[in-house]
Amino acid sequence: MGLRSTRIRGPVERILVAALLGIVVLAGCGPRGNVVTDVGPTGGTRIEGGTATMALPPASTPNWIFPIGAPGYLASHNSAIQNLLFLPLFQPVQKGAALTMDSPRGLAEQPHYSDGNDTVSITLKKGYEWSDGTPVTTRDVKFWFDLIKHNKKEWAGYSPKLMPDDVKAFEIVDDRTFRLRLDRPYNPTWFTANELQDFVALPAHAWNPDHQDPKHAFARLMRHAKKLSTFDSDPLWKTVNGPWRIEKWSTSGQVSLVPNKKYRGPDKPHLDRVILKPFTTADAEFNVLRAGGVDYGYIPPSVMAQSAKFKEMGYRIDPWEGWAITYIVLNFHHPTAGPLLHQAYLRQALQHLIDQPTISKVIWHGSAAPTLGPVPAGLLDGNPYPYDPKKAKALLAAHGWADHSGQLRCVRPGNSTRQCGAGIKNGQELRLSLLSQSGSTETSNTMQAIKSEFGKAGITLDIRQQPLNTVLGTTVPCKKSEPICSEWQLGFFGTQGSWYFPPDPSGEKIFATNAPSNMGNWSEPRTDRLIRKTEYSDAPTAMRDYGREVARQLPVLWTPNPAYQVSAIRNDLRGIDQNPTLSLAPQYWYFVKKTKNGARSGEGKGGAGK
């Protein structure tokens, strides 16, 4: 049957193919793969040069190079790559348990607030140049600011009333210093962490030599940014000020970075090349890792118990914990699911059906922890909606849902407290569909477990799995009238965490009305007010009040928050900083070779990582 190239001709061949399938499977049971290095996790002599290959997350490929993010292109590896080419003014850095904004990788000195916190002055660090030799100046930052100011609706980082609306004036003091006049006093910690972290210098001289107005310049740059196949050849993207430049960027998602020889910063790369390699599934990556095909990869949580085998192969195992929360997005603007999801009792019932502790323990093998709300768990009281199927069923029954052959149907339509709720018809089934990220066994199993629990309560959940970029491109904020709003009801893109907090974990970008990453279109005045408070006040109660309110309101369904990945790193690859904000800094990476007896270890020289 079938076609020539894969045709299975005779009976013997057919049996052999079937047997081969079995042998391939059994091969997976083999004891271990190749030993990739005989160097231990410490010691060794540093060497310059070499190529390091890092595995990208499963079913997710880099697809955006322009440092002004567009909706649907917000995968963390996109911004991680952009930050290596175009230096942000401020970058977070982990100091103990805290995140601060004084990373040496930033292009600017620490900001200075004055006039009662409604003016901020920023000075660029000395000596930075673009790769064509032109100095980096405040005009390059102004170019970025003008682009987002005049095209804010196209910028994925835009929240109404925030950047750039909250800047009354951008004043250039000189080539290295500029001043922002704000529309009111802000909490400096919040403003630096969540607003100034967006600031980046773009090469105005190269990207806008004809001094086009910001509208036209932005439209032209966006046209270039949407041509994935030319990211490595378009002259636009060759003018960079970061430590790396693009060597190759394939449409399949493989990115090769080489050092920017004109880089003037203190953290010049040690390696000759860094390759970011895409994989369709975690299992595919795992097989390549076992064969020694990647230097910096990850292992599935299911094999964490077997990490000793990888240590024998010459890898060190290091879980990469992200500062994140994970959730299922609810599309409140969906024509049929929207009226259902607007019912608080229904959201509470759904949350009561998600057994986060057991999913974390059994499916994620302990590499995930329950998400309780929109801020770190320490700021919350606990879980207001713990796993409790009986309570979920009682809530639904109390609001007019009755079981018909295992499927809940609304039998008391209407608006009152004991009825199904506005927009829900008599006899309507409680049926939802979920668009989930593919490529991860743990995610698939989590969704199956949730579907199963929903099913036991009489709720049908249809699951469709797609690669990350497809999910991110579909689950975007939308208006009720837009066709894309009808394409999804529930969305999940949290295999590596759904939302990585900015250093100040306020919610203006995820849960404020019309926020850029408010994918489900949640809008609630009290939430908006509490988010505002976190922007203006540095009182600890502001963040706590916001967190508790959103945890109670359930604009999303909280699910276990996994580690970004359980990293497996070659022992001879050093200098890796697994930052909880997922930024990459391969300029600090270097290889070591085995130290001969009596020779002095070179490890640790030069300072790496943080």
Binding site: L3, V25, C29, V362
Partner: protein, 296 residues
Amino acid sequence: MTATDAPVSETAPATPGPARRTLAVFTRNKLALTGALVLLGLLTFCFLGPLIHPTDQIHTDLSQAGLAPGGNHPLGTTDLGYDLLGRLMYGGRTSLEVGLAAGLLATLLGTVYGAVAGYLGGWADAAMMRITDAALAIPALFLLVVVAAIVTPSKPVLILIIASVAWLSPARLIRGEALALRSRDYLHAMRLMGGGGSRAVFRHILPNAIGTVIVNATFQIADAILYVAYLSFLGLSIPPPAADWGSMLSAGITYTQVGHWWLIFPPGIAIVLVVAAFNFIGDGLRDAFDVRLEKS
């Protein structure tokens, strides 16, 4: 038997009919008979087994996840707590149903297409066969993966997409038979008496090629079951909680590192057994239909 029949049977023993001759040759082939018994066993296991060993294959049970064989779970449990023996039955239904339906549909389509092409001959035959050749030039697995990635797989969808690439081989085979049969005297006679093309194809060519069709169908089914396994192994299976042997194998791979052998051996062995069974049956039928092998 009546008294008047007796002398006839004594003087001229009754020659067994074609069906009986075929059955006799088939049953003399031990491998074919074994294949038929194995297939019967697997069908019984998948479709009647749940009556003896009923399990919940719809809802997960995380408290029972990853249990080794023993106790209430003779083949252990999956990573989501499904009883593996029950899942093997449940998954086998999908594999067998899709494989049988896709194989038979492909045979039906290919047979009619090939018979029409062979009967018509000339430019129509040339055009129809060039279409077949062009389609054969595209790797089947590539087509299957592309289509399965675009549409959400379900049983009918899997049957259609597998059949849509599998009909080409029987089409070429039956076209050859039709070319040989179209010049037979009885077909000339039928045409002289005013018989049309459809009568020629459906009343004369296809019945005379039935042996080839049946033998080919068994191989088509075996290949279709393998294709279901391929697609499922690549993650393009019917969404959970549905299962088939290929998706069970794929899910089990993740756990080979931690020694959960029971997740991969049973579905792997089941695939090998069913594919081997169909191929042995096909070989037996080919021998049975081949008159040259008959002992006079």
